[in-house]
Chain length 365, copies 2
């Protein structure tokens, strides 16, 4: 029933700038090295989440998570199916789970709230402690895949970033960069639900059409257009909340168009993730003159409030008012080459890697 | 009793970088051009406050105050004595006042909270509306000059920046740049009063000695020292609140040493005020990973709460636990050449210009 060997992908070398072909390497492991102990389960990974933050996880600097070590299985959010259980495990064969299959015990001890994060690892199979995973049952209108997107870390990031950090109010102007990405596209939709005027920024005409036509943003702007700066000023005027996924020049531009008491939600800075010498932000004195606030956040801090957000987003998925788009890459071996798509803007919507079949998803997609 | 003419200093030309000899010019005005109308008073200016923010006031950009116009009397905080009153004025001859003697009516309409700010103008005499000034009576242990410093805009900036924006708590580590300046030196003292470990940054060994010896900061660091970066890391470790008066490289360094949930209080960015091409901040992604907050503020927003701060600071002046140091330049004609001292770091403590004698101050200094 089980294969003799399975594949894991480990970090081979820390990239200086862009992720390269030799950043990761594939390892073949003997299946009989996997021993399922007490209160553990063996999980077959089905889908893995690819997230912009992963570039940070392989950088050897002080951050909100310890860096993935050289030779260690690449950390990632993911889903799986329980294929066998050890003595005393609370799981049953066939359970759909998310968890931290590939992460080290050290990480778990340091960051217990990660247990509530969708975290697996770039591996086909993993033995996981009961405590490091949770059983999921998709609500109406959703599949388990949504737990890697709107109902998972992506969704929580959008929800708590926009509402708790950004404190968006009805009638305000919200600008979202990386608007066609997984987090950005949900932020746009949550912004419209909250009664804001929403301007989304993306990098292709197709993405802009999707944002305006399908997601209902008031205006989508292509930052690669030669008239972008002028388009921004005309469409935005001045902004109340800027949800920043990209940093760099767009952040700079946003800082020049702040309303008084504006909030800049620093979710990410994708434009600089691969840049060993990122450009600086020059407009920070506008934060003083407009009494603005620029705040970073890490979604784990809101773990105790996830349920509220999940309920609200699930209701939107059920009634069709929240739309979720996936870009699925097939095969674990393609994870290393798929990850850079996030930084070049090649994906629209949530980028995931399909590692193995999960009947309950296949039947609904 | 009154002179035939008096002096005003007006903005002649907007500087591109540093303030130059021809940035301002002196004008001689005929005294009989001053007409004191209903609910007005004639004020003889005694002391003027020189503040780093003034560089911004003469820049023609959107900010929290409209720019001073070419040919307009330079805006500034100041004190004066009422020398004659118009019909219906609530003031009396001899009253000590602060007010907006030199500012245009337009500014007053746009920014009513400025009435509570110590704002005069670079002029020897001015006719002022009753509504644009307030009578002051120095509390025990203070002189009217303190209303240009710890009991005035400077004091309010330090107090609300540290407590309301920075939310400093006992036991935390506070780092203050521009620590020997008027705002910075009060922030250091308020920080010690609040039970924090305080590290002050200044630009000369004398300033550092004053901070450690007289003001009681835990450690003062000279940013011009060749070992400054290393000194900073050793003395600070990681910080909870960074009160930033300077921007630039020290802000960058502070961003690399944030504790989780650190607050960066953006009070000013004096290192960039005269720089037409300021360097950018590259470390802003640390704000994300440490869930930190970088917030600007403008002291006028706290006008309704000034009384609380004044009471607390006045108590400190009275019992000697808050010290206030003045650097007094004599003569209105020297205001233009004194202002750049703030940007070169030539002053220690609060920089003011003495325009005329005020008996109640002279007797106590």
């Amino acid at each position: 029933m089980f294969p003799n060997t399975f594949t894991q992908i480990v970090l081979r070398e820390r990239p200086v700038a862009d992720i390269l072909p030799d950043t990761f390497e594939s390892k073949t492991k003997a299946f009989d090295e996997l021993h399922v102990g007490q209160n553990q389960a063996l999980v077959q990974v089905t889908y893995l989440s690819l997230d912009p933050a992963m570039r940070g996880w392989i950088r050897d600097t002080r951050s909100y998570l310890p860096p993935v070590k050289i030779g260690e299985v690449m950390r990632s959010g993911g889903l799986g199916v329980v294929v066998s259980v050890g003595e005393g495990s609370k799981f049953r064969k066939g359970d759909l789970v998310y968890g931290m299959f590939g992460a080290s015990a050290r990480t778990l001890v340091l960051f217990p709230s990660l247990v509530l994060m969708l975290c697996a690892g770039w591996t086909e199979y993993a033995v996981a402690n009961d405590k490091s995973m949770e059983k999921i049952s998709p609500p109406p209108g959703a599949t388990s895949l949504d737990f890697l997107n709107t109902l998972g870390m992506t969704g929580m990031t959008a929800y708590f970033g926009l509402h708790h950090v950004g404190q968006l109010k009805a009638g305000e102007t919200l600008v979202v960069s990386g608007a066609a990405g997984a987090v950005g596209s949900l932020v746009c939709q949550l912004g419209k639900k909250a009664g804001a005027r929403v301007i989304g920024i993306a990098g292709t005409p197709d993405k802009c059409s999707w944002l305006e036509g399908d997601l209902g943003v008031d205006k989508a702007l292509n930052y690669k257009s030669p008239t972008f700066r002028q388009d921004f000023v005309e469409a935005v005027g001045y902004l109340d909340v800027y949800f920043d996924n990209v940093g760099g020049e767009i952040l700079e531009l946003a800082l020049s168009r702040l309303n008084r008491h504006a909030r800049i939600v620093l979710c990410g800075g994708i434009s600089a993730y691969n840049d060993p010498q990122p450009k600086g932000i020059k407009g920070h004195l506008n934060i003083v003159s407009q009494r603005a606030k620029m705040q970073g956040f890490v979604v784990f801090d809101y773990a105790e409030q996830y349920a509220v957000a999940v309920k609200e987003i699930a209701a939107g998925l059920a009634d069709g008012s929240i739309k979720s788009k996936f870009h699925i890459v097939e095969g674990l071996q393609n994870a290393p080459s798929a990850l850079p798509m996030l930084y070049s803007g090649a994906n629209v919507g949530k980028l995931v890697v399909k590692v193995s079949d999960e009947p309950s998803i296949s039947s609904k997609l």
